[in-house]
């Protein structure tokens, strides 16, 4: 199909409304949504889950399934109304003029076809070129997405590539037809931070090189800041604010945008002096939206009789922005947008107490037999944890930072007793527990070290009521003597995590993600746990809920003097709440120290890259851009010498090829900081801060 030239906007959406029709009736998913994407422009769509951002993308693709229907408004692509196109015209358009990239790369690739074939298909179908030409094009695109050895990649099957490489191939496939519009639906959510940084860089570069317009859907404001020119904030099916990145980030004119920014941990937030402000209440369900402003019930500026009356329209912001800055708020002129945040309850910093947990030279190796059924064959050793040593004190938060495969989950398993250590010691309150599996531990030991899990939708047994799950934990921990005692204690635990007592009789499916996570916390504290291992407890939650759950954890910790081992890959939240930080890579602790020490130079080269990779939603922050090559090596087959040497930018600065031959020793730097690196002191001293906050 010939591509037609068009000078106007690539995509014009006007007053779009999309509804899904179910047996329960019509459920509006998107209401009165308008936006314009100019050629070469990158538009960000930001919002929490369920706000309708993906539905807009599917609407543009005209792929709403049999339940979805566009009930109002128009979508114009290069001036032509997509709603009026025939199925055939649309098929021509998809994949050639508009391409879409989804969250899960493996789901977009055909596992039974070689990468090359899949890429070549696109020009063969849409442009009718010969196989040889198509292959040329494929090699070119694969080179463009910065994959090494394109020939080999083209001949491999999807499962032979890592997640990051797969996502690059998906992007390459989208670029094969040189589309005018690229829709990216959370393209990096499934990837690790350092891999994500590479993809983001790639997407930005390609936008500039190919002049493609982009619709970038994300829940991560920092990522949108890194990739987009303009953004549109959505809430509960409506766009609430739209404008250029600078306008929306610095001169926000909608209470929801403001609340959103106040609930994410930006540099400068501090758990004691400047705590995060969570947005009260819950996201309304599509069939329970309030009348008037959807954000009304959760808004600080809510005015009864005005905000809840009638439909509120998008209006241009006066004076606020130059570039099509619009907001859907009646009181936009009345609110004093510069008013400083009324400080929440400041709390005194709690001093860490005695050492509760001491881990010394802990090693955990797994033996993987080549032939699992009959045994025998080669036995390979996976070194999941390699000589870990650290201490954790009472009421201290120790953050364990690392990407997938770094061994943090194995460490948690050894601490919990689900695995026993291969070597080294773990001391809890003076008792050695490294070789005590959970069956061998007494009730007190088990109840004093508990865990909060990552996935809120998985953490509770779906077939038991919330109350009975907490009561079960109490029974096992021998708390209370009679069922009535335990029920009382269970209700108190619900109070502790700020859930209504009526939730005791609810089933988990009736709870939102944040509420489930609170129940998980209540369950962990059922036996008055001394140490709580929190494995990414908020990473699967929506931004506005994250702050509330984090604050809850901090508050309980403060009251109970709990030691919190906070496992996370999100450095923003780690900086906000941790007292000390431990950075792990491929089973090794590569850096350890107090939060200030780890977040300021000198850094371990991996910490430096990690800091640079984390997107920060603040326009005043300037980051040094360090993008790592390649992917995290497999723990089955670790590199020789320093585990990080395959991706390290500083390797050239170490003489004698030391990095490739020898594992560096743990070195003490100033203060309590320790790093595992061969770099000489003078190189460390030269390091500059990765994150600089520009003077205002």
């Amino acid at each position: 199909m010939a591509k037609w030239d068009y000078d106007g906007p690539i995509l014009e959406i006007e007053n779009l409304s999309i509804s899904f029709f179910t047996r329960a009736g019509e459920i509006p998913a998107v209401m009165d949504f308008s936006t314009t994407v100019m050629p070469g422009e990158a538009m960000g769509l930001v919002g929490e889950s369920g706000c309708g951002k993906s539905t807009v993308a599917l609407g543009v693709m005209q792929d709403l399934g049999k339940n979805g229907e566009i009930v109002g408004g128009t979508i114009k692509f290069k001036g032509r109304n997509l709603n009026e196109m025939s199925e055939e015209e649309l098929r021509d358009l998809r994949g050639s003029e508009i391409a879409m990239i989804y969250q899960e790369p493996m789901a977009s690739l055909n596992p039974a076809m070689r990468i090359g074939q899949q890429l070549m298909e696109v020009p063969i179908i849409h442009e009718g070129v010969s196989k040889a030409v198509a292959r040329e094009m494929a090699i070119e695109v694969v080179t463009d997405v910065k994959l090494p050895d394109p020939e080999r990649i083209l001949d491999s099957y999807p499962h032979q590539l890592s997640g990051g490489q797969q996502q690059r191939i998906v992007i390459a496939m989208a670029l094969m037809s040189k589309p005018s519009l690229l829709i990216l639906d959370e393209p990096t959510t499934a990837l690790d931070v350092t891999v994500e940084a590479g993809i983001v860089d790639l997407v930005k570069g390609l936008g500039e090189k190919y002049g493609t317009s982009m619709l970038f859907i994300s829940h991560n404001l920092g990522l949108v800041l890194d990739t987009c020119d303009r953004l549109c904030v959505m809430y509960s099916g409506e766009a609430v604010e739209t404008g250029s990145i600078e306008d929306v980030f610095d001169k926000m004119r909608h209470p929801y945008t403001q609340a959103l920014f106040r609930s994410i941990p930006l540099p400068g937030a501090d758990k004691n002096a400047a705590p995060l402000v969570a947005i009260p209440g819950n996201f309304p369900l599509p069939h329970e939206r309030p009348s008037g402003c959807n954000f009304g019930p959760r808004c600080d500026y809510f005015e009864k009789g005005r905000c809840n009356k009638g439909q509120i329209m998008m209006d241009p912001v006066e004076g606020g922005g130059r570039d099509r800055h619009e907001s859907r708020c009646l009181k936009v002129r009345e609110i004093d947008w510069k008013a400083p945040l009324v400080a929440g309850d400041n709390s005194a910093r709690t001093e860490p107490g005695k050492v509760v947990l001491k881990v010394d030279n802990l090693k955990k190796y797994y033996e993987v037999a080549a032939n699992a059924i009959f045994g025998g064959g080669d036995v390979r050793v996976v070194k999941a944890n390699e000589t870990l040593s650290f201490e954790a004190r009472e009421s201290e938060t120790l953050a364990i930072v690392g990407e997938s495969g770094c061994g943090k989950s194995t460490l948690a398993k050894v601490l919990m007793g689900l695995e026993t250590a291969t070597d080294g010691t773990v001391t809890l309150n003076g008792d050695n527990i490294e070789n005590l599996p959970i069956e061998g531990r007494d009730t007190k030991t088990v109840s004093s070290i508990q865990m909060v899990f990552q996935n809120p939708f998985d953490t509770l047994n779906p077939s038991m009521t919330v109350g009975s799950q907490i009561i079960r934990a109490l029974e096992i921990f021998k708390v209370g003597n009679t069922p009535a005692d335990r029920r009382q204690r269970m209700l108190e635990l619900l109070d502790l995590v700020k859930l209504p007592r009526a939730f005791a009789d609810r089933m988990p499916r009736q709870l939102s993600g944040g509420q489930k996570q609170r129940v998980g916390i209540a369950r962990a504290f059922a036996g008055s746990a001394q140490i709580v291992v929190a494995d990414e407890p908020v990473s699967a939650l929506d931004v506005s809920v994250q702050a509330a759950v984090t604050d809850l954890l901090m508050e309980i910790q403060r009251e109970n003097k709990t030691t919190l081992l906070f496992i996370s890959h999100d450095l923003s939240i780690v900086r906000y709440l941790a007292d000390r930080v431990m950075v792990m890579y491929l089973g090794h602790v590569v850096e350890m120290g107090t939060t200030e020490e780890v977040f300021s130079p000198p850094y371990h080269p991996y910490t430096e890259a990690l800091l640079s990779a984390v997107p920060i939603a603040d326009t005043s922050v300037q980051k040094k851009r360090i993008v790592l090559d390649g992917d995290i090596p497999s723990a089955m087959n670790p590199p020789s010498g320093c585990p990080f040497q395959t991706r390290c930018n500083h390797k050239v600065n170490v003489p004698n090829n030391l990095c490739e031959t020898e594992v560096p020793p743990m070195r003490d730097l100033a203060g309590s900081q320790q790093i595992k690196c061969h770099l000489a002191q003078n190189w460390l001293d030269q390091m500059e801060p990765v994150i600089k906050i520009a003077a205002e």
């Binding site: 689900l418 959970i438 088990v446 109840s447 508990q450 865990m451 899990f453 047994n461 096992i476």
Partner: protein, 401 residues
Amino acid sequence: MEPLSSLQILGHVLQQFLPVWVGMLVIFALSIMTKTKTGLYGKLFDSPIGMAGFALVLFWVLTAIFAESIMTHAALETASGMKFKAPGTPLRGAEAGDFQWYLFGGDNLARDVFSRMVAGSQIVLIIAPTATLFAFMVGITLGLPAGYFGGRTDTVLSFLANLVLAFPVILLFYLLVTPEIRAAGTEIQIWGGKTWVTSIPNLLAAILFLFPIVFLLILFQSRFFTQPKLRNILVIGVLLLGAWMYSGLTFNADPLGILGMDPNLLNIFVSVVFVNSPTVYRIVRGLAMDIQTRDYVAAAQTRGEGPWYIMLWEILPNARGPLIVDFCLRIGYTTILLGTLGFFGLGLSPESPDWGSTINEGRKLLSLTPYPALIPALALMSMVLGLNLLADGLREQSLKD
């Protein structure tokens, strides 16, 4: 008296089934009224396929319950001159209180086809679901540890399951019901002056019937060991009830003389359970492997729960969706299997009114009249169809959650 016309037959049949219609009406009305509160069962009434399946199954369940009042004659009652008579033939020499016609005609021994079909539903609806339930108990009790522990347990159990699955089913049945095999074994004197033969089918029954008792004991012990009082009541209850039923079903020597099992029936029952349980085992094993990776299982492990609590209370309830669907389908298969066995003459005694046997009896004289074979065949088909539709409906609805 004149023979009935087709329409009149229909009218009479509908009238005979009156208690069933009333029952269905009441159950449907109640279910639809409360459908928002009853979970998966309630959602069944959102799906036309599920409702149709449920209606068919309910029809046969209610028929079995009200069989006594639906049947126009006794299942074994013969009447002179009614051999191979067409549907609607008036009963010769009927007395005033008797039903005046053979609604679906008479069979080769001049018995009423309609009444035998109704009586057959009772047998089918008792054996098929119970046998399936036993197969599930066995499959679950072995499948959960295989999936949960993996490793050697899994290897051994899966090998045994494959062994059973690899053996031709019909051949297995022939072996199990052969008189020589049934008699082989020593006779043991048991209580009440009764004897028990250690034949292969009897031994199998002794093993397979233990599973439900073991299953329930572990189920209660693993959960309620924290509340000894409640646990003791439950465990003693299970033991007493289990011992009573076990002595009745396995040894045909119920001390109270209430329960008992015909040796023919026991054979069939054991065979059906034996061939069904490996398939259930595989399903449960797969589900256990999948569900044990969930965080709530890890949460239970980290608070020190025992493996059986995790298997029976954390994993099993959350595998219920696929298991319920399979249960419905499997009752259907079992019904067909029972029919097939009856057809081969391996089933119950020849005069039994169960559908498989009656089809077999009717088949031999098909050229004279089709009705004695056709009517139970239609009954069998409609019930299995109902179960399959019900399973489809359940699957469709459980995926939506």
